[in-house]
């Protein structure tokens, strides 16, 4: 069990490093392309390590480790420093790092949930309704359910898996003009259309189950950020102007008042990065399927020959 967990942690680091390097070096940097690569970095260690363990138990034996493995944990297992096993120390540090990365995202969210008052649903103002109709038409989808929260904090979120609902706060409506509000709504509608909330929940479950793997935590974070980038690009495409989306994002970044949630404060630098990506036309070329397949096959091979 511990060996299996250690192997998933090692595989997570390998997969995340490989994917991060490919994303940095490849000419294609569209959010969808990055999303697929991060999904690969997240799922390959989680699924392949147990499968390899089940189908090829000989992979863990000395013969394979000594003759075939690229990296074997047993080769450095006797390494000690002042009586402390270096392997065990590395494993402990990695587990603590993974848990910290997980808590970094979980705690602000949990604190906000605890502090958050119940949604004070009031009637949706007509201009918000018309903006949502405009956004839904631009997105080519049926308008999702809308709830107006009479809260001063600028907040817009998509909740629910099967029948997503958009929650718009009074603070956000007061912050954004008509076009910006439509763009922000189009962004959330993209999440609703693609069922991103379900994917986000599944990713959070994987993160909780494999909290000890820093590689997986980094890949999951990057994946969620690229989900947001994808929604930004979809909204920009639907509204016909990325600058409107950038404007709405920057207003959100600039609204540092007492109403801002901890979650949003942590996201500020991420929002700025999303704005830069939206305005960078060089990054819109999609990844080739061939490159994705080669990466998947290569990663599967690489992980097969890496034994904890």
């Amino acid at each position: 069990m511990v060996k299996q967990a250690a192997e998933i942690a090692v595989h997570g680091v390998v997969a995340t490093c490989v994917v991060a390097l490919i994303i940095q070096l490849q000419p294609s940097r569209a959010p969808a392309a990055r999303l697929w690569l991060w999904l690969l970095a997240l799922l390959a260690p989680v699924t392949l390590s147990p499968i390899y363990g089940l189908l090829w138990p000989a992979r863990r034996e000395d013969g394979f480790r000594d003759e075939w493995a690229l990296l074997s944990g047993t080769h450095g297992s006797n390494l000690a420093w002042h009586g402390v096993s270096v392997g065990a120390a590395c494993w402990s540090i990695a587990a603590v790092l993974g848990a910290l990365l997980f808590l970094r995202d979980l705690l602000p969210f949990a604190v906000d949930v605890v502090r958050k008052q119940a949604v004070r649903a009031v009637e949706v103002p007509p201009h918000v309704l018309s903006a949502s109709v405009r956004a839904a038409e631009a997105m080519g989808m049926e308008r999702p359910r809308l709830r107006f929260d009479d809260a001063a904090a600028p907040n817009l979120s998509c909740r629910g898996w099967r029948r997503p609902i958009l929650i718009v706060s009074r603070g956000l409506v007061e912050l954004l003009d008509g076009d910006e509000l439509a763009a922000a709504l189009a962004h959330e509608m993209c999440h609703a259309k693609r069922r991103d909330t379900a994917l986000g929940f599944a990713v959070m479950l994987v993160r909780a189950a494999f909290f000890f793997s820093p590689g997986l935590q980094i890949a999951a974070r990057a994946l969620v950020q690229d989900l947001e980038c994808q929604a930004d690009h979809a909204a920009a495409h639907a509204m016909g102007d990325p600058v409107v989306v950038v404007r709405s994002l920057r207003k959100l970044v600039g609204s540092h008042d007492r109403h801002m949630t901890i979650w949003h404060r942590l996201q500020t630098s991420v929002l700025e990065r999303r704005c830069r990506l939206l305005l960078d036309d060089r990054r819109l070329t999609p990844v080739s399927r061939a490159a994705l397949l080669v990466t998947a096959a290569g990663l599967a091979l690489l992980l097969f020959f890496t034994v904890a």
Binding site: I22, D62, P242
Partner: protein, 190 residues
């Protein structure tokens, strides 16, 4: 503005080829880095790849199936390092020291094959003779000159599908006596 929103349906082939080449290069580089990491760990541990350290002789016997319990014949000698390998033949190497003798004894034994070179580095012997350890046991006694002027002696014999080698920095007579004790214990164990 159109450039910002441009979403080509098909990837131009040179771009695709470049993306594939990048992925291949990164994957190959990662394989190299992993192999290098393994080599560094192996080098830091100080054991060749395929050689493992064991905490005690029982563990070494359990890992390889090579009988080393005969070393109970040498109660004064304490193991200071035990190494094993399983390929190409399972083998054990154990280094012993005794508080009574200012010499080091290294015991090698393999089963179903010669003792692998990665466990036992070959000697540059200047002298080798056949000696008789008992009525049924003939052995080869060889010696190598050490840099300090001393000699390292090696006694090797084969018996019932297992090969045994002893290297000793002490006197020849002590080495032969220790070998006899081991052979006696071996026979008793059977």
């Amino acid at each position: 503005m159109k450039a910002l929103l441009h979403r080509p349906n098909q990837v131009p082939s040179p771009r695709s080829a470049r993306a594939v080449a990048t992925a291949v290069l990164v994957l190959a580089g990662a394989a190299g880095v992993l192999r290098l990491g393994d080599a560094v760990a192996t080098w830091l541990v100080g054991l060749p790849r395929g050689v493992h350290a064991c905490a005690n002789l029982d563990q070494a016997q359990a890992e390889t199936g090579v009988p080393v319990a005969v070393l109970r014949a040498l109660p004064d000698w304490h193991p200071v390092a035990i190494r094993t390998t399983t390929r190409p033949a399972p083998a054990v190497a154990a280094t012993f020291r005794s508080p009574r003798v200012a010499a080091e004894l290294v015991f090698y034994r393999s089963r179903a094959g010669a003792i692998p070179d990665r466990l036992r580095t070959p000697l540059a012997t200047f002298h080798a003779v056949e000696v008789s350890l008992s009525r049924d046991h003939k052995a080869i006694l060889a010696a190598e000159l050490l840099p300090g002027g001393g000699t390292l002696q090696e006694l090797a014999w084969s018996d019932a599908n297992q090969h045994t080698v002893m290297r000793f920095t002490g006197r020849t007579v002590d080495l032969l006596r220790l070998a006899n004790l081991i052979i006696d214990e071996d026979l008793r164990a059977r």
